[in-house]
């Protein structure tokens, strides 16, 4: 008996979702280990260039991922209230409130991580990041490492932006060399970038299975799996786990099975970050009416691929909240077409001003360009007090009715 072959096969047979969960668990475990050993641990914005810290062997955690996990486990409101008792307004992003509460010492058994020794801030996803991380740096008296990514007014990123951001990259490398007490190794960097690209490709590959009719997956699954592409882009095991996921979907297509166990009467795009504490409430009316989510903006936004430093910088300039209106619309309309959706459910996320900022205009363009039903609802990525289940159900029913009418030719 070939032991290695048996082990390999049994490893391969591990469900992809378990592999993915293990990757994220490892990120947190390694951060704790590093902290115990007295090594510096950082907190990073989700779209700060992860390649840099990875190359320098620095362990990093992601407050946004932590906040999402806490919110999904229904600890979000408690943490938000703690932050509010410190004087943080309830208008502030729910992730930030949860994270600030945690940084200030609030107990949190839903998802803990080591307190930071440095913070990595990149405002490509929002300006709130800057204030959020300044507050943490202030609370803990630790260095804040900043990469400023100016907002875009055109689909193409300006050359001066590339120069400016490149200079910041170089500066950040110097700062992190000091913190890690290591030299930045170009070869290691190449390897790390290669891993990140593999991960992104594999992730996009997995997401692309939504194009099949019927879809071999419930789009909501992608909300769970994306934690890996946020927290562990640069690791080989991430690409492996996503490849395994893609393989599973491939198999499903062949077998005619799906993780969406209900009718697929309609296919929609879910616009915005999901309401983490309300996933069940979001899912229920959709499954009852056979509405599968086959396009999700939040998830593939993290699947960026690059071949060189210039392209890498351009990729980091393009977060959903940093691109011009036309690019934002194009992304979404492309996945709507590719993934054959006939409706869009728009989450007006109380916690995210940049994301909802040009949403009304985008809605109008979706209707005009794609001729599909578009309905919005009020919610929040982490604070349930801003979500009304009654309103959500009413909106989904409205969306369903319009999609039915369009499907049946207005009869």
């Amino acid at each position: 008996m070939d032991t290695m072959k048996v082990i390999k096969e049994s490893v391969q047979k591990k469900p992809a979702k378990n592999m993915l969960r293990d990757v994220v668990d490892k990120v947190y475990a390694e951060a704790w280990e590093a902290k115990k050993k007295g090594e510096p641990v950082g907190w990073s914005s989700s779209k700060f260039p992860a390649e840099i810290a990875e190359t320098l062997g620095l362990k990093v955690c992601y407050p946004e991922n932590q906040a999402a996990a806490i919110a999904a486990k229904h600890g979000g409101q408690r943490m938000c209230e703690y932050a509010e008792s410190l004087g943080y307004d309830n208008d502030i992003c729910g992730y930030a409130r949860i994270s600030l509460a945690f940084a200030a010492g609030a107990e949190c058994e839903e998802k803990t991580m080591p307190q930071p020794d440095f913070v990595l801030c990149c405002n490509n996803i929002c300006n709130c990041m800057t204030k959020w991380y300044e507050n943490i740096a202030r609370m803990h008296d630790i260095p804040l490492i900043m990469i400023d990514v100016p907002y875009n007014n055109t689909p193409e990123v300006n050359d001066e932006n590339i120069v400016y951001i490149r200079a910041q990259f170089d500066d950040v490398i110097k700062q992190l060399e000091k913190i890690s007490v290591r030299k930045f190794d170009e070869k290691k960097f190449e390897e790390v970038c290669s891993n990140a690209n593999c991960t992104a490709k594999a992730w996009l590959k997995a997401c692309s299975y939504c194009q099949y009719e019927p879809s071999p997956l419930s789009g909501f699954d992608l909300f769970n799996h994306m934690a890996v592409v946020v927290t562990a882009r640069c690791r080989k095991e991430s690409a492996e786990a996503f490849e395994a996921l893609a393989d599973e979907y491939e198999l499903s297509v062949k077998d005619g099975t799906s993780t969406w166990h209900y009718d697929e009467n309609h296919r929609i795009m879910f616009e915005g970050i999901p309401c983490w504490p309300e996933l069940m409430n979001l899912f229920t009316p959709l499954k009852e009416k056979g509405i599968n989510t086959t396009a999700v903006v939040y998830a593939p936004a993290f699947g960026f691929i690059y071949n060189n430093m210039d392209e890498m910088i351009r990729a980091y300039c393009k977060a959903p909240n940093s691109v011009c209106l036309e690019t934002g619309v194009e992304w979404r309309e492309t996945i709507c077409r590719d993934n054959k959706v006939n409706g869009v459910l728009v989450h007006y996320n109380r916690s995210c001003k940049p994301w909802s900022g040009y949403m009304p205009e985008m809605e109008r363009r979706f209707r005009k360009d794609l001729g599909i039903a578009v309905v919005g609802f009020d919610g929040d990525q982490a604070d349930s007090r801003n979500f009304s289940n009654a309103q959500y159900i009413a909106r989904v029913e409205g969306l369903y009715e319009i999609m039915e009418l369009k499907k049946n030719g207005g009869q």
Binding site: N123, N127, E134, M146, P150, N152, V163, K353, S356
Partner: protein, 379 residues
């Protein structure tokens, strides 16, 4: 005394009539460029012979702007969009739109696609503004903006034009800073309402005229003996506080604003521009030097907190009144540290909610009265 009253009345008249000011500029054959908050270098507009006008919203509620914005966006930006959609900005030859906060960013896109009558000049300031690479970026940014302004104006700006504009603006900033100090010493002569209109009128005037009038006012005020102020003295902090109903409450309660940390006021004229060297670079250096503003990245992490304590001590204020703009993330996020530092320095503070939509300031009235009572009892 007569001259002071007359000057104050003139400033108030201008501040209350931006539309008339705009019409007058147009009739005189001038082109006008609207400038969004914050840190737009108006010198560039001035250097090509056009007139910059500040766009800080106005009192009222958005109705048409709701087609573009959900409810939870600051009323300053929404009301600018409202004015644009209602055609009130049609006579402008261009608008410079900034991106320093999470509302301004998507708002720039909304403006650009919704208001095709008015060319939008996009200004995305770098937050990492202090290092050399940041200054270089600002130089490129400002140069691009200047190019677009030159196209609109139909003429180029020479380095001399730019130097001249910088001089004009330095003089105006200097006069405003003087005014703020002087009013701090003579609150009995200039009410909070009047103080606001003097500073606000600058956004609707060509600066040389504003400077001339303001210098005259400053001289007249300085000449008078200092009278002991029996009311209370405060520093205000926030984005904007120009609603006369709110300011009247200050006056009715004899609350003197002896210094301010308001974006529409002192934050906009704290720093001057070097009159030497490459003018665009000098303007970029001015932006690099800007600090103590929640909307700007603070690489020192703590400089704003220290600044506000200094401001209170230097101006002889008894307390700080935070004018919290509803839905303003940067101000909200900086508030806890702000209050903590004031508490440690034993400086009483009060926060009142503010936005362009509020018509009934009953709650603010109660708060301000109670705050006055607290300060008076501490005297």
């Amino acid at each position: 005394m007569n001259n002071i009253e007359s000057l104050l009345a003139q400033f108030a008249d201008i501040a209350d009539n931006p539309k008339r000011q705009l019409d007058q500029f147009i009739t005189a054959g001038k082109k006008v460029i609207g400038c969004y908050p914050y840190y737009v270098p108006e010198e560039l507009v001035c250097a090509v012979g056009m007139v910059p006008m500040g766009l800080w919203g106005k009192q009222g509620s958005p109705t048409r702007a709701k087609e573009y914005f959900a409810s939870f966006y600051c009323s300053l930006v929404q009301m600018n969009m409202e004015m644009a959609l209602c055609g009130e900005l049609d006579k402008l030859s261009g608008v410079i739109h900034t991106t320093l906060c999470d509302t301004l960013r998507p708002a720039s896109q909304n403006f650009r696609v919704a208001i095709d009558k008015i060319p939008m000049i996009f200004m995305s300031h770098p937050q990492n503004r202090k290092p050399e690479f940041g200054i270089d970026y600002t130089v490129t940014l400002y140069s691009k903006v200047l190019q677009q302004l030159e196209e609109i104006a139909g003429r180029k700006a020479s380095p001399d034009d730019l130097h001249e504009a910088i001089k004009i603006y330095n003089e105006n900033r200097q006069a405003k800073r003087e005014f703020v100090k002087i009013v701090g010493k003579h609150p009995e002569l200039v009410s909070a309402v009047q103080r606001s209109t003097v500073l606000k009128s600058a956004y609707f005037m060509e600066k040389p005229k504003h400077t001339a009038m303001l210098k005259e006012l400053n001289e007249q005020l300085e000449a008078l003996p200092v009278v002991e102020w029996t009311g209370t003295r405060v520093v205000t902090s926030g984005i904007i506080c120009d609603n006369p109903s709110v300011l009247k409450i200050f006056d009715d309660n004899r609350i003197a604003i002896v210094a301010d940390d308001i974006a529409q006021e002192s934050r906009s004229f704290r720093k001057d521009v070097s009159e030497e060297g490459n003018p665009i670079r000098s303007l970029a250096m001015q932006f690099a030097d800007q600090d103590q503003d929640p909307i700007l990245y603070d690489p020192t992490i703590n400089s704003r907190q220290a600044h506000i304590v200094d401001l209170v001590e230097q101006s002889g204020a008894q307390g700080v009144i935070v004018i919290m703009m509803t839905f303003c993330d940067p101000e909200e996020m900086e508030y806890p540290s702000f209050v903590k530092v004031l508490k440690n320095a034993k400086i009483p503070s009060l926060k009142i909610g503010y936005d362009h939509q509020i018509t009934d300031f009953g709650q603010a009235k109660t708060s301000l009265e109670a705050f006055t009572e607290i300060l008076s009892l501490r005297k």
